[in-house]
């Protein structure tokens, strides 16, 4: 059976779940647990990756480089990964420094139709001889044909593999199957999938992706991630093992890492609740949920109305500011 590369996003997507307030101790303890379990790649940082600490998305407790240094000290066989979104972070300000700290794997992400903004960043990583993947976020917003085209661009820029993110947790297994199988048939480089659990489909969608030929899967302990969380990594490893896929991860130790994550990082275990379910239905970025919740209370409007309006306006990741505009407009409408 095929070998699946597991990319652990607990310390990156999980940042969304705690408003990017991960501490040094939490990062160190969890990175050690991941290392013991034999997890191949541990992605670390702000929820939206390098340079994303901001009023728009949320300010990090620790500077990026401190997070990365801390994780670096705990990782030996597991690789240290980062996510970078052009438009938020730059090579000079962010990526260069990440290499100084000793990052092994870089994933360069764009909205699913905008792959050409990743060219310089992918080339930069490639020129430094490091591993680089191209990521398409909010992939439910594009047709399969467009995703194929965009992935071809990522490949041409030098990406060793491509990852589709279901950033809004909007897919059902059939959607994943169709997209991933088409990409696998067209690309000849590894294809990956990153799930969110807004509609309770994270594990089912991840399995659909592997059955369709994906060989890279993202997951996080206890599902610790934005909104309703990601594919729960311990479950994913167990299910993949049961199906006969190889991950190279030790079952008992990954289960132990899950316990450690729960004790040390996870304040509230992510689950599909009202806001996240509506975010999945309306196709809105999972990372918006905490902002929507807060702003809805401030303006005394229904957060679900905000989400459906954001979905109608087809906002993309990074457009958190529009939540305020939508809430202000709903509030004005309610007042008059």
């Amino acid at each position: 059976m095929a070998k699946i590369l597991i990319n652990d996003v607990t310390l990156r997507d999980g940042s969304h779940a705690v408003c990017h307030q991960l501490t040094k101790k939490q990062i160190a303890v969890y990175a050690k647990a991941a290392e013991r379990a034999g997890i191949p790649v541990v992605e670390v940082g702000h929820g939206n990756g390098l340079g994303a600490s901001s009023l728009q998305i949320g300010e990090s407790l620790l500077p990026d480089m401190e997070m990365l240094k801390t994780a670096r000290e705990s990782l030996v066989n597991s690789k240290l990964g980062v996510l970078i979104i052009p438009g938020i972070a730059t090579i000079n300000k962010d990526l260069r420094k990440a290499f100084e700290v000793g990052v092994d794997v870089v994933r360069v992400a764009s909205h699913c139709t905008e792959a050409d903004i990743t060219e310089r960043h992918i080339s930069y990583v490639r020129e430094r001889g490091k591993e680089v993947y191209g990521v398409l976020m909010m992939s439910h917003m594009a047709t399969t044909e467009i995703l194929v085209e965009e992935c071809h661009k990522l490949k041409a820029y030098g990406a060793e593999g491509v990852v589709l993110m279901d950033s809004a947790g909007a897919y059902l297994p059939g959607d994943v199957m169709e997209r991933i199988s088409t990409l696998v048939a067209n690309l000849k480089i590894p294809v990956g999938f990153h799930a969110h659990n807004n509609l309770g489909m994270a594990i089912a969608n991840s399995i659909a992706a592997t059955e369709a030929g994906a060989t890279i899967l993202d997951g996080s302990m206890r599902g610790f991630g934005a909104g309703a969380g990601n594919a729960q990594l311990e479950v994913l490893c167990a299910v993949l093992g049961k199906m006969g896929y190889q991950t190279g991860i030790d079952l008992y130790k990954v289960l132990d890492a899950g316990e450690i994550a729960e004790q040390e990082l996870v304040q509230i275990t992510p689950a599909p609740k009202g806001i996240s379910i509506v975010s999945g239905l309306s196709g809105v970025f999972s990372g918006f949920s905490k902002h929507v919740d807060r702003i809805a209370k401030e303006y005394n409007v229904d957060p679900r109305d905000i989400l459906f309006e954001l979905g109608r306006r087809k906002v993309v990741a990074g457009q958190e500011d529009i939540i305020i505009e939508v809430a202000v407009n709903l509030w004005r409408k309610n007042e008059h």
């Binding site: 009023l55 728009q56 909205h111 903004i117 306006r313 087809k314 990741a317 457009q319 305020i324 505009e325």
Partner: protein
């Protein structure tokens, strides 16, 4: 200035989205005449448009100006940041007044609502970025009213369709140049810029949000000052509109503006093209007026 022969001769270097939008605006100007529209390929969409408008064109890039330096007095550079670094030296030697529409950070930053007159004494004027033109005047006002601004962040979202190849390859320069402009004009040393491309159909209008952290906000005073600044900007960017006046949200000042374009080249959603070429035209017309005054004096 009614006499068309007295218009200032300008050349536009770069036939992409920005260069072509600029061309339409130059053709409408009472002070400017497009002597040459320059690109690298006669078959590009911008070039085709220029030819259809009867404008003299060339596909020889900067070489055509080097061969015939007298063809123009002013050069708009709408190529890319990397190219401008190369063009800047050549145009400086030729003694041209240059308005740079790329995020190269070579010349003096110009925000017409703030420092129009001062810029005319420089040789290379940089109109920052679209997000910079939309946000810097507001950041400047925030800095004028509050002396304790600890942080300013600006987020712009533009329609994917409006972002051409050079814009896409220059995202890093966009961010770093916009941040420098914010720091320079607001006096706040801590600034961050974010740019989003949104592919929604129908295309979204350009929209910019400013967040600022201050110890003690003076919202009433700020609202009035922002209103006057918006009116000032509207004099040269007619589609500039305040959509969320200064409010406090989560301990930060929030201001949001939308920029609709005039639909000169791309449709009206491309406010990002419009605002940067409007700023460039504002500088060029002011320069033209000053030059003509000097000549007639």
């Amino acid at each position: 200035m009614k006499d068309p022969h007295k218009k200032l001769k300008v050349a536009i270097l770069g036939s992409g989205n920005i260069g072509t939008d600029l061309l339409v605006k130059v053709l409408r100007s009472s002070y400017l005449e497009c002597a040459l529209f320059i690109g690298r390929s006669l078959s590009s969409p911008g070039m085709t448009k220029a030819i259809s408008l009867g404008v003299p064109v060339s596909d020889l890039s900067i070489d055509v100006i080097m061969k015939d330096p007298d063809c123009c007095n002013l050069v708009f550079d709408a190529t890319s940041a990397l190219y401008h670094k190369h063009h800047a030296n050549i145009l400086d030697e030729l003694g041209k007044f240059v308005i740079d529409l790329t995020p190269s950070r070579v010349g003096t930053m110009a925000i017409p609502a703030i420092n129009l007159r001062e810029c005319l004494h420089c040789k290379d004027v940089n109109v920052v970025t679209c997000g910079g033109q939309a946000s810097i005047p507001l950041a400047y006002v925030i800095g004028q009213i509050h002396k304790d601004v600890s942080y300013i962040e600006v987020i712009s979202t533009i329609a994917s369709r409006s972002a051409g190849a050079a814009t896409r390859i220059n995202l890093d320069e966009y961010i770093e140049t916009t941040e420098e402009g914010i720091r320079l004009f607001s006096g706040c040393n801590n600034a961050k810029a974010i740019l989003n491309l949104n592919p929604a159909q129908p295309c979204v209008d350009m929209q910019t949000t400013i967040f600022a952290k201050v110890k003690k906000p003076y919202l009433e005073k700020l609202r009035n000052a922002i209103d006057s600044m918006v009116k000032k900007i509207q004099c040269y960017v007619p589609g500039y509109e305040l959509i969320v006046p200064p409010v406090m949200e989560n301990d930060r000042i929030v201001i949001m503006v939308r920029v609709k374009g005039r639909g000169d080249y791309l449709p009206s959603y491309a406010g990002n093209l419009d605002i940067i070429s409007c700023a460039a035209i504002a500088v060029a017309e002011e320069y033209a007026k000053a030059t003509i005054e000097k000549v007639s004096a």
